[in-house]
């Protein structure tokens, strides 16, 4: 594993999205110039692709999908970016509605996902952030305890259960409403 990469991994695991912004700034000029110059990408699309690339990189690091990296971080980002650019070009060619990103839906209906998103907003803080920090940013219970200044890890765990249950109930009741309207 390159030392550059392990440093970044540690920073991301500790700092989360703050650290991600540092990564974003660090590789930004080179990446965007490369996209525009080498691949002839438009300036606005280049920014979008870079943002999605950074997001994918982050998710791969946090989910443990990316355990070892023998190449430079830059090289890895470029390979993600290239795929995303070609994907964007293909999408454009197909004249399809632009998608922000490709999600493996696993056959979860779009309307239901929208519903969860809406309910997550309704859920309010700290539950919304807590759940995102746990599921997406992969914060450990220890980190969450520290982040939310809980008494101990058990409190954090309990809080997470409660938030999840509240979300589930919100989705159920709102989903019922949708079902009733249909």
């Amino acid at each position: 594993m390159s030392s550059e990469y392990s440093t970044i991994i540690n920073e991301l695991k500790q700092g989360g999205s703050r650290a991600l912004e540092a990564v974003y700034v660090r590789y930004r000029p080179e990446f965007i110039q490369w996209l525009q110059g080498r691949l002839g990408c438009e300036a606005e699309l280049a920014k979008d692709i870079y943002q999605q690339t950074i997001l994918t990189f982050y998710e791969n690091v946090q989910s443990g999908k990316l355990v070892t990296l023998t190449s430079q971080v830059k090289t890895y980002l470029f390979s993600i970016g290239r795929n995303k650019y070609y994907e964007a070009v293909r999408e454009k060619a197909k004249q399809e509605k632009a998608k922000d990103w490709q999600v493996e839906h696993d056959s979860v209906p779009e309307s239901l996902l929208q519903l969860v998103e809406t309910c997550l907003e309704k859920l309010g803080e700290p539950c919304r952030t807590l759940l995102m920090q746990f599921y997406f940013h992969k914060r450990s219970m220890e980190q969450l305890t520290e982040l939310f200044a809980y008494k101990n890890v058990d409190t954090a765990k309990n809080q997470k259960y409660k938030c999840l249950e509240r979300l589930r109930k919100l989705v159920k009741s709102n989903g019922q409403l949708i079902a009733d309207n249909e």
Binding site: V25, R28, Q33, Q51, L55, L115, V116, E117, L164
Partner: protein, 242 residues
């Protein structure tokens, strides 16, 4: 492990093979558990999606605070349009150079005529020319490309000498008088033997200069048929004449 944790681990893929089989076996039997798994899946996916949107939003906000990335300096050879333009130009040049085309005989003459080298009385460098015979003077003039003088001198010599005829003919050709060269060269070709190959070639060249396309063609075909040292040149000209 309670059911919630079990479901989480199952969705994370962090159950051992035995645990997973046992869990899936339960899921197939318990409708309630099945619904819980589906709910959890949905919620997790929704949370991930909301998070992605949030991260993208913050990156976009960050982007707006950053100075614009300077447009890359594209090296010339990477500029697609320039590449295409260069390619087309190259193609055009190649096509121009390689395209089989008809050339004017006079032009071909200018390209291919070279006076036959003086092999009779070569001028030796550094040696004082003290041979004042007309023949020597004639060849000296020929070597110095003073063809007007050479013609005068060659004409003083015997018209029975095939070498004199050949060089006189060449002198006429070189001074732009193919009409006068032609009978001399034909005489060399028809009445003598030594310079037939050369004479035949210069006859053909004379016809080129005279713009006698058909006669030049016939003469060149003879050169080719003879397999002489002028064959490849003759063939080249034939191709361009057609």
């Amino acid at each position: 492990m309670n059911d919630i944790d079990l479901i989480e681990h199952y969705l994370d893929g962090s159950l051992s093979a035995t645990e997973r089989l046992a869990f899936e076996e339960r899921v197939s039997r318990e409708a309630e558990l099945r619904a819980q798994v589906e709910d959890m899946k949905l919620m997790r996916e929704g949370i991930l999606r909301a998070s992605r949107k949030e991260v993208l939003k913050s990156l976009k906000a960050l982007e707006d605070t950053l100075p614009a990335v300077e447009a890359p300096v594209i090296p010339l050879w990477r500029n697609t349009w320039l590449q295409i333009a260069a390619g087309i130009s190259l193609l055009a040049v190649c096509a121009y150079l390689l395209w089989p085309r008809t050339q004017e005989p006079a032009q071909l003459f200018a390209e291919h005529f070279e006076p036959y080298p003086n092999i009779i009385m070569p001028t030796v460098r550094g040696v004082v020319e003290n041979d004042s015979t007309v023949k020597a003077q004639a060849f000296r003039a020929y070597d110095q490309q003073e063809y007007g003088l050479a013609i005068q001198l060659f004409e003083k010599l015997s018209t029975q000498d095939e070498a004199v005829l050949l060089y006189l003919g060449n002198s006429y050709l070189a001074s732009g008088q193919p009409d006068k060269a032609l009978p001399l060269l034909e005489k060399v070709l028809n009445e003598y033997d030594v310079f037939d190959e050369q004479a035949e070639w210069y006859v053909a060249v004379s016809y080129l200069k005279l713009e006698e396309r058909e006669k030049a063609r016939v003469a060149l075909q003879k050169v080719v048929a003879r397999e002489s040292s002028y064959k490849s040149k003759a063939q080249l000209i034939l191709d361009k004449l057609n």
